[in-house]
């Protein structure tokens, strides 16, 4: 390692109104080092990287690359200094080829002809050097998520980046793709590129990084060589306290609350439809649906929410075949629905907490009479639920828009669980939540299962599925695998199934 670090951030401070997003943060990055940047939502990771990349101007502090200060507020300067960023949401043009995507923005605006041949040669040598294989002539649309990520990385390397920043790079990958990614990153590091990756998955940090830095409330709370720390220590540093562990009591499964028999449905867009789904959920049981996003989980969630009608097969709720699937019919049948899109689908963001708690029950007797809303009953119910579910907000009349993600999810859970559902559909219930809120959501789901609900848990997070579910089925291209017992199945097998291999398409329930 060289004496002058490749990258040095010193005393970075940035405030947004009353919030100190970054408070006197200093860190260094050496050439050929893989640094993990950890922290909960709102800990200041993204702000810090945005300052580094020139999207924001820090109130105080400086950024130096190889000892030379970087002018603040200029992404162009950051690029020129060799800093490249791979965002969580890819920024590729679907209808262009890999090569065109990589060349975008590197060409002079007024060139007569594109230097395709030269670019192709350069890209080819990069691919050989870093062992990153993608077909340069393929349209991005046709690539898998893992391949798209490789294109993003190549795009950055093509611009001669020496510092690669990745924001939550594994959020959309299967375990195998993640392993592949970290092998690639290790290769880059071995050849002198420095890598910073932002994450909140401790397992990845322990497995892949050389050094890790934990942020909390905008400050560096822990900085250590990965070898000398432990996952527990990192978790404590992230949260500031020991993580509440969800307590779990396994009960014998009760009656069957949901049975899908060879259900088919068409996707509204070109995604895969549902093909001959079979699944069964009993009371007290949590069934996990694993899979890489875009394999039909959204459609399954819409089906169980009553938004999409099946084109074949039957949906049986507690022994009753449902003939007409509508949201209202599902609510009446005792299905509690927790959607993945909280602000768009789950909640009316511009209405109040009380109104949102009421959207599924206001027509019930007791809450309205002869067309008039009973505000007293609705308000007292809201106050009670806000208390029981610990929804923190300015009051029952605060607009939901102003709530944090965790409190929004608690609001949805309060609305769902207060109706005593027999079946709960939870689609990505902890997506984007911090550790504390995640633990609360998990505990609520486990409690509901203990009280007798059957739960379908759709998640892309294998850790979450292993922690909560009794059985797991894998969804791939609109098909479900046969259920696997969580206690006996291993992660590698699920990973293979998620990438479409070894899937038992007959799907016995």
């Amino acid at each position: 390692m060289s004496i002058t670090p490749l990258l040095r951030l010193s005393g970075i401070t940035k405030t947004f109104g009353p919030l100190k997003a970054n408070d006197d943060i200093s860190l260094t990055l050496a050439q050929g080092e893989m640094l993990a940047l950890l922290g909960e939502n709102g800990a200041g990771k993204t702000t810090l990287m945005s300052i580094l990349f020139g999207h924001y101007v820090a109130d105080d502090g400086s950024v130096e690359v190889l000892g030379r200060p970087l002018p603040p507020g200029s992404p162009r300067a950051a690029l020129a200094a060799g800093i490249g960023m791979v965002h969580q949401h890819f920024t590729l043009a679907d209808n262009m080829t890999v090569l065109e995507n990589i060349m975008l923005g590197t060409e002079p605006l007024w060139a007569f002809r594109r230097g395709s041949a030269r670019a192709r040669a350069k890209l080819g040598s990069l691919m050989d050097r870093f062992r990153l294989r993608v077909d340069p002539g393929a349209k991005v649309r046709a690539l898998s998520v893992g391949e798209r990520q490789r294109v993003e990385i190549l795009k950055v390397l093509y611009r001669d980046a020496r510092i690669l920043i990745l924001d939550e790079p594994t959020a959309v990958l299967t375990p195998q793709e993640s392993d592949h990614l970290f092998a690639t990153l290790r290769e880059l590091v071995n050849q002198g590129v420095a890598v910073i990756f932002i994450t909140h998955k401790l397992r990845e940090v322990m497995a892949a990084s050389d050094r890790c830095v934990v942020l909390r409330h905008g400050r560096v709370v822990l900085e250590a060589a990965t070898k000398k720390t432990s996952a527990e220590e990192l978790a404590r540093a992230m949260v500031g306290a020991s993580i509440p562990q969800a307590t779990r009591v396994t009960l014998a499964p009760g009656e069957e609350v949901l049975f899908l028999d060879r259900v088919r449905a068409d996707a509204p867009d070109r995604g895969p439809g549902l093909r001959e789904l079979r699944l069964s959920v009993r009371a007290h049981e949590i069934l996990g649906i694993a899979g890489v996003s875009g394999n039909g989980q959204a459609l399954l969630a819409d089906l169980l929410s009553g938004l999409v009608a099946p084109t074949g097969g039957s949906v049986v709720l507690r022994g009753q075949t449902v003939s007409r699937l509508t949201p209202a019919a599902m609510i009446r049948a005792g299905v509690g629905r927790v959607p993945d899109d909280r602000t768009g689908t789950g909640l009316v963001a511009d209405m109040t907490v009380m109104e949102n708690l009421s959207t599924e029950i206001y027509r019930l007797p007791g809450f309205s009479k002869r067309g008039m809303l009973n505000f007293k009953a609705l308000a007292s119910r809201a106050a009670q639920l806000m208390d029981v579910f610990d929804i923190r907000c300015a009051g029952p009349n605060a607009p939901v828009r102003k709530l944090s993600g965790g409190n929004m999810q608690k609001l949805i859970l309060a609305r769902v669980l207060s109706q005593g559902p027999h079946l709960i559909l939870a689609n990505q219930p902890t997506w984007g939540l911090d550790v504390g809120a995640t633990a609360a959501v998990h505990q609520h789901l486990l409690d509901a299962a203990r009280r007798g609900a059957g739960i379908v848990l759709i998640s892309e997070d294998l850790d979450e599925l292993f922690e909560l579910s009794d059985r797991i089925q894998v969804m791939y291209q609109g098909r479900l695998s046969a259920p696997e017992n969580t206690a006996t199945v291993d992660r590698a097998k699920l990973g293979l199934m998620m990438s479409g291999q070894n899937v038992d398409t007959r799907g016995a329930a």
Binding site: A329, R337, T345, A349
Partner: protein
């Protein structure tokens, strides 16, 4: 430059900002008055005097405000549900046609029955008329902005045909107008020797009723929810289709009631110039009121003040009464800007 939502806004600002915006718009228009060679202070003084300065002026202003309250409510209700009804003008004439058809001798009832009968049948016709574009919207996803707007011209052409053709009053010495409605259908005058009629009270009652409905009833809750998020209301199992249909009936009905009130309260007979654009002005009224039903009463009165006042001002000093159009247009822009700035603050980098 960036926009940041404000955490909380004091009530004083929520009320004060639109008022400041109106004053700002008058300041902008003062430039035009100066340019026309008159003193702005004198002009505004004359305008206010002409609109509010005497009992007669006041009754004229409130008479003008009456149809604007109805069309303003029509737009406010529909826009609240994100049903973009730009067809207030057409529905206005549908209401007026219905009242002409039924009220010029076809049915004769005592006044206390005749007036409610005409209002209800007019409102029903207007509401059903708006169902056509609404149905196209919900079934075939046809943009209702286009269909409601274009239907205005369809209605106007039908009215044109009616007053030149089958409904042409032979007693009108060749003027293209329909026969007058019967005496029992005419709205009683509130203030003697003025044109202010019962319609104004009805308009106030409607504003209050709509406010009450939006705030306290299931239907109002559903309209607000569907407007705020169609996706979330559908997900929550709300009767979204029924809500949109109900909103359309209400909105079309209110706009048609403006037509009935203008026909039976002011003119007495159907002509092609029964409305100087009340349907379109209703959109401005609703936006100025931030879609609040009680605010509609205030903003309709404000616009009526500007128009009535500008007429008398232009007679007194030689300034075109187009200044009224400019003032309302500018005040709409400034009020929208003010409402935006009460919700967001601008930060300069």
């Amino acid at each position: 430059m960036r926009l940041e939502p404000r955490e909380s806004v004091a009530l004083a600002w929520q009320i004060g900002a639109p008022l400041l915006a109106v004053i700002a718009s008058m300041a902008v228009c003062s430039g035009l008055i100066l340019w026309a060679g008159a003193s702005p202070l004198a002009a505004w003084g004359l305008l206010l005097k002409g609109a509010l300065g005497s009992t007669f002026a006041l009754t004229e202003t409130l008479t003008r405000a009456t149809p604007l309250i109805f069309t303003g409510l029509a737009a406010a209700v529909a826009f609240r549900a994100k049903l973009w009804n730009i067809g207030g003008e057409g529905q206005f004439y549908v209401g007026a046609c219905m009242a002409t058809w039924l009220g010029t001798g076809m049915i004769t009832l005592p006044a206390w029955l005749m007036i409610p009968f005409l209002f209800l049948s007019g409102a029903l016709a207007g509401g059903l008329f708006l169902l056509i574009p609404t149905w196209l919207k919900t079934r075939l996803k046809v943009d209702e902005v286009v269909t409601t707007l274009l239907l205005n011209f369809v209605v106007l052409l039908v009215v044109n045909w009616l007053v030149f053709g089958p409904w042409k009053d032979p007693m009108a010495m060749g003027w293209p107008q329909a026969a007058p409605v019967i005496d029992q259908a005419m709205l009683p005058v509130l203030v003697p020797k003025s044109s202010l009629h019962l319609g104004f009270i009805l308009a106030l009652a409607c504003a209050f009723l709509i406010w009450w409905m939006m705030r306290f009833t299931i239907w109002g809750f559903e309209i607000r929810a569907v407007g705020a998020s169609l996706k979330a209301s559908t997900f929550a199992g709300m009767p979204v289709q029924a809500t949109i249909v109900r909103t359309a009936l209400l909105s079309g009905g209110l706009a048609a009631m403006a037509g009935v009130t203008e026909l039976c309260g002011v003119k007495g007979y159907l002509t092609l110039d029964l409305s100087p654009g009340f349907g379109y002005s209703g959109i401005v009224v609703a936006m100025l009121a931030a879609l609040h039903p009680l605010g509609v009463v205030l903003s309709a009165t404000f616009i009526a003040v500007i128009y009535i006042g500008a007429d008398s001002m232009s007679r007194a000093i030689n300034i075109s009464n187009y200044i009224a159009d400019v003032t309302t247009a500018v005040s709409l822009l400034t009020v929208l800007l003010a409402m935006f700035l009460t919700r967001y603050r601008i930060r300069w980098k």
